[in-house]
């Protein structure tokens, strides 16, 4: 680019101060008369045809600032260009009465009754967490919390779904502790209880850890806020933190980068979070909402100001004028393009009627939140941005925010899939007892207290159930005891074997986990983590998973409220296993009726609901004991899941069961271990049929319950068409399976709890630490 350069000395100080070079500003009028200037569109992640389309839209070459805006907004992360055509399936699902706001907004919103609405969403922050684990995870939490806040809701809880390489790999020791500390550090400081999540390990994530964060918020129906800019003359107000050089190009570059073997080639500044500022932002926003001071609001996430302004304008009447000089900066050396691309955290953008601006600023002042009018809504349909009195952006906002590229990428069924599916897993255990201990002490199966103790579960005083329960349960109304339940599940082994079925199996598991707590499943969110969309085999996996999830939701009658797609999770040629993480939200009419997973009393009957088949494809047992991944995943049965779910909700309401725990990874062995160790209550059981299938098979639609009235439970199950098998009775200090094995709880506890501390270090500060879940006798 030819430009006159001017040199400016910073100050009169010593001679070794470097002179700053300031290129001439690239304005709209200059761009109109310099069509042949070379522009670095490829470095910014744009293809030649995309660059040509921008020129066509504008009728000239874009300015530097406009090019920056298009490059970030048309990136995979922001525009969903590879996934849009497939995600249409979710929009095609039948309308749900419960859905107040569907896909396309910052987060979906569902009606939960009594005038209350709930908004929830899960999002990824994978690539930044590999580069800077603590800040990557922290800002992932911060980002999803703002998405919930911007809907007009008070955020009330978070969950995290984490995946790393092998637990004993050196790089896992670098990444995992930082990620956990970041999730806890940010969420705890915001005052949001962490109510559940996942922690799994697999070699496929070694260079591509997955950090998926969920936030849920609560609002009254009438408090809903939307992200649109309407009303000519209304002011555009930027508030929250100052804008600095954080994460410039984070979406356009880092999120679409496959790491090579030595790590990320480019290292843009990673976003750094300040949860204290976000806490102030939350309180200020809620006061602002309560006072009715905004007509539209958007949070600044990926692509920062570029995204907020173009999306607000595109969703509204279409016109907006911004004075970029007004943006408060942390770093005064930023160029206008950098300001537009900055991903500095803890910022929001509101549309405020002129007469309400003073009140808006007063609330911000009370909370010490910086707030600045940076523009206004205009007539017409252009987004204009001025800098130093010159126009540097003049674009149709819809082309930036909504009409980005739409790819139909080539797809191909993986060449190895037939062989993989034909490679049936082993089906007979040589040593049931040893295999049991191996499965429950594996990093995937082991007790997660080392992680979950770093999270505050109590803040706000409404957490009813949290990890290690099957679902996180939160009370939302103290007088009526209305509550919600949430579960996040994403078995990637199943999806690797069959992405279509695997996605549905994950949906089924999350659905089951919510129903197990006694809540009625209501809505779905999803975080779809896949490899590079430029690989046809990955694209096929993605398309199949989306098709499966849509079909599954249709059959279960659940709407997809929104979610997130993370692509390019790949190192060199090796993509991660397809990892569709599904979140299901359910409602407790009376949260006091919730059903926990742990056994508390002796002498209760242990019943197994559901049917067991010898299914080991993709099972934890096959992976842990035989290092095997092959065959087909368990057979899906959504009709059985529905019947089981209805039964569980009814049993909870009637108080018919004292505990319920679903069977998933690790089958019955894992479930019995967790239920017995929760409060240290053993059981004497008889397990019929093939013992390997009974203990380690992963057939769907199964739950273990305890009850003091087995006849009533049997009757209810029979009426629901759910098979029932009596296993035995609770009591004692061991798990005794007649004729098969005996596991003293002390030995089982030692095996189950030792794994993560041994791997990641946990210096205890005193003898006799209280194990999680046990109640000391007083």
């Amino acid at each position: 680019m030819t430009a006159d350069v001017t040199t400016e000395r910073v100050d009169d100080g010593p001679a070794d101060h470097a002179a700053r070079v300031m290129p001439q500003l690239d304005t709209v009028s200059h761009a109109a008369v310099s069509p042949d200037d070379e522009q670095p569109y490829a470095e910014l992640g744009l293809r030649a045809d995309e660059y040509a389309r921008i020129r066509e839209i504008l009728g000239r070459r874009p300015t530097t600032a406009e090019l920056a805006m298009y490059s970030v907004m048309w990136s995979e992360h922001c525009s969903y260009k590879s996934s849009k055509v497939h995600l249409r399936r979710f929009a095609d699902l039948p309308e749900s009465d419960a859905l107040l706001v569907g896909m396309g907004e910052n987060a979906g919103v569902v009606d939960v009754g009594e005038g209350w609405a709930v908004t929830f969403k899960v999002e990824s922050h994978n690539h930044p967490s590999y580069v800077e684990p603590y800040q990557g995870a922290a800002t992932g939490v911060g980002g999803i919390v703002r998405d919930i806040l911007t809907m007009g809701a008070r955020p009330v809880a978070v969950m995290d779904s984490l995946r790393f390489g092998r637990a004993d790999a050196p790089d896992t020791a670098r990444v995992l502790p930082g990620v956990v500390a970041g999730v806890g550090g940010y969420g705890n400081c915001l005052g949001l209880p962490n109510i559940g999540g996942e922690l799994l390990f697999d070699d496929c994530y070694a260079g591509n850890p997955l950090v998926n964060a969920l936030c849920v918020g609560v609002l009254r129906h009438e408090d809903l806020q939307l992200a649109k800019a309407e009303g000519t003359g209304n002011k555009v107000v930027l508030f929250g933190a100052r804008t600095g050089g954080d994460g410039i190009g984070g979406v356009s570059v880092l999120a679409s980068e496959t790491f090579d073997a030595e790590g990320p080639a480019k290292r843009p500044a990673v976003q750094v979070g300040d949860p204290f500022t976000e806490k102030l932002l939350i309180e200020a926003c809620l006061e602002i909402f309560a006072a009715g001071l905004v007509t539209g609001i958007q949070d600044l996430g990926g692509a920062g100001i570029s995204c907020a302004t173009s999306e607000l304008a595109a969703a509204g009447s279409g016109g907006m004028a911004i004075d970029l000089d007004a943006v408060p900066l942390r770093d005064s050396t930023l160029t206008p393009a950098e300001i537009l691309m900055s991903e500095s955290q803890e910022r929001m953008c509101a549309i405020v009627e002129p007469g309400k601006v003073a009140d808006f600023l007063a609330v911000c002042r009370k909370w010490d939140v910086l707030a600045t009018v940076i523009g206004e809504v205009t007539d017409g349909d252009r987004l204009t941005i001025d800098w130093h009195g010159e126009r540097i952006v003049d674009v149709p906002p819809r082309t930036v925010a909504l009409e980005g590229p739409r790819y139909e990428r080539p797809m191909a069924r993986p060449a190895d899939l037939d062989a993989l599916q034909a490679d049936a897993p082993p089906s007979s255990s040589a040593d049931l007892r040893a295999d049991w201990l191996a499965v429950v002490s594996s990093p995937d199966g082991a007790d997660k207290t080392w992680v979950t103790e770093q999270y505050d579960r109590y803040v706000r005083g409404n957490t009813v159930l949290a990890q290690p329960e099957d679902a996180g349960v939160v009370r939302i109304d103290e007088s009526s005891n209305l509550g919600i339940a949430l579960s996040l599940d994403g078995n990637a082994r199943y999806a690797r074997l069959d992405p279509y079925t695997g996605a549905q199996l994950n949906l089924a598991e999350a659905y089951r986990n919510v129903a197990v707590s006694g809540a009625r499943p209501l809505a779905v969110t999803n975080c779809l983590n896949f490899g590079s969309p430029e690989e046809p085999e990955v694209m096929w996996q993605f398309a199949e998973a989306v098709r499966g999830l849509a079909d599954g939701c249709r059959e279960l009658g659940l709407p997809v409220t929104g979610g997130n797609v993370s692509l390019y999770n790949q190192t060199g040629d090796v993509a991660i296993n397809p990892t569709p993480v599904i979140g299901v939200l359910g409602v407790h009419a009376d949260v006091r009726r919730r059903v926990p997973t742990g056994w508390r009393a002796d002498g209760e009957t242990v019943l197994l609901l559901g049917e067991t088949r010898p299914e080991f494809g993709g099972s934890a047992w096959a992976a842990v004991v035989h290092a095997h991944l092959g065959g087909l995943p368990p057979r899906l049965d959504l009709a059985a899941e529905r019947a089981l779910g209805e039964l569980l909700v009814g049993l909870a309401a009637d108080g018919g069961v004292s505990s319920a725990h679903d069977l998933a990874d690790g089958g019955l062995a894992q479930a019995l271990t967790e239920s017995s160790l929760r409060y240290g209550v053993g059981a004497r059981l008889t397990v019929d049929g093939d013992p390997t299938a009974a203990l380690f098979g992963e057939s769907v639609a199964r739950v273990v319950v305890t009850t003091s009235d087995p006849a009533a439970v049997r009757a209810a199950a029979e009426a629901a068409g759910v098979p029932v098998t009596e296993l035995g009775t609770t009591g004692g200090d061991a798990l005794v399976l007649d004729g098969l094995l005996e596991l003293p709880l002390a030995e089982l506890r030692e095996a189950w709890t030792a794994t993560l501390p041994a791997l990641f270090g946990s210096p205890e500060v005193a003898v006799g630490t209280v194990p999680a879940g046990t109640v000391p006798t007083s």
Partner: protein, 223 residues
């Protein structure tokens, strides 16, 4: 009885402290850090959280808030004050309690249902308990390790100013397993554990925490 709960920027458990006061039978009064006075409340709770993001030191900036001057003055005149977690940190920074709270010795934030022994059942905030009673109350902190010079710790123990002590494990490395201390007159108490999270069986590990809040109602009547 009107029990003030002070909210600083970054306070998190103020809402929960107010709930605990209400469940105990008191009337919670929301106080803002920038208020001029304590609105004539009968006692004050400094709640948990991350006031000012724990910047500089946990509780350091909040301790110097204008309203804290009133708290210190009235505490010297006998006003019962309970500092929970971050509130305990504020009380130490404000000079109302001895010692200081530092980073947990294992360097992690830790949230745990913790066994405690009540060693002073005669402070303004612990009369609902019996001497030596064992209770279960959540702890959740990253900077909860209580420290002081050995001579000061000896004096504290000698004067019987340890109110609550960790039993069944020490969650943060606190010296002498100290979980809470009191002023010489027994009216100002600092606690690392969170009694406001143990007031309902539905949401907590026990209802043992209520005792701290019922105690002060009788203390206020008696004063």
């Amino acid at each position: 009885m009107r029990i003030g709960v002070i909210t600083f920027p970054g306070s998190l458990d103020d809402v929960d402290a107010a709930r605990a006061v209400r469940l105990a039978g008191g009337e919670p009064v929301a106080l803002w850090h920038a208020d001029d006075d304590l609105s004539g409340v009968d006692a004050v709770v400094l709640p948990g959280g991350f006031s000012y993001g724990d910047y500089l030191r946990a509780g350091a900036i909040a301790a110097r808030a204008p309203l804290m001057r009133s708290v210190v003055d009235r505490a010297h005149a006998g006003l019962p004050v309970l500092g929970i977690c971050n509130g305990f940190q504020v009380l130490c920074e404000a000079g109302l309690l001895p010692g200081a709270l530092t980073r947990n010795s294992h360097l992690h934030f830790r949230n745990r249902d913790q066994g405690l022994a009540v060693e002073r059942a005669d402070t303004a905030w612990t009369t609902s308990f019996t001497q030596g009673q064992q209770i279960v109350v959540p702890v959740k902190n990253g900077e909860g390790r209580y420290v002081a010079a050995d001579a000061d710790l000896d004096r504290l123990e000698g004067e019987g100013r340890v109110v609550v002590r960790y039993v069944g494990g020490n969650p943060n490395g606190s010296s002498r397993d100290i979980a809470g201390v009191t002023s010489a007159d027994g009216r100002v108490v600092g606690l690392m554990p969170h009694p406001e999270h143990a007031v309902e069986d539905l949401t907590g590990p026990s209802e043992d925490g209520l005792g701290f809040f019922t105690s002060v109602l009788t203390a206020v009547v008696a004063a």
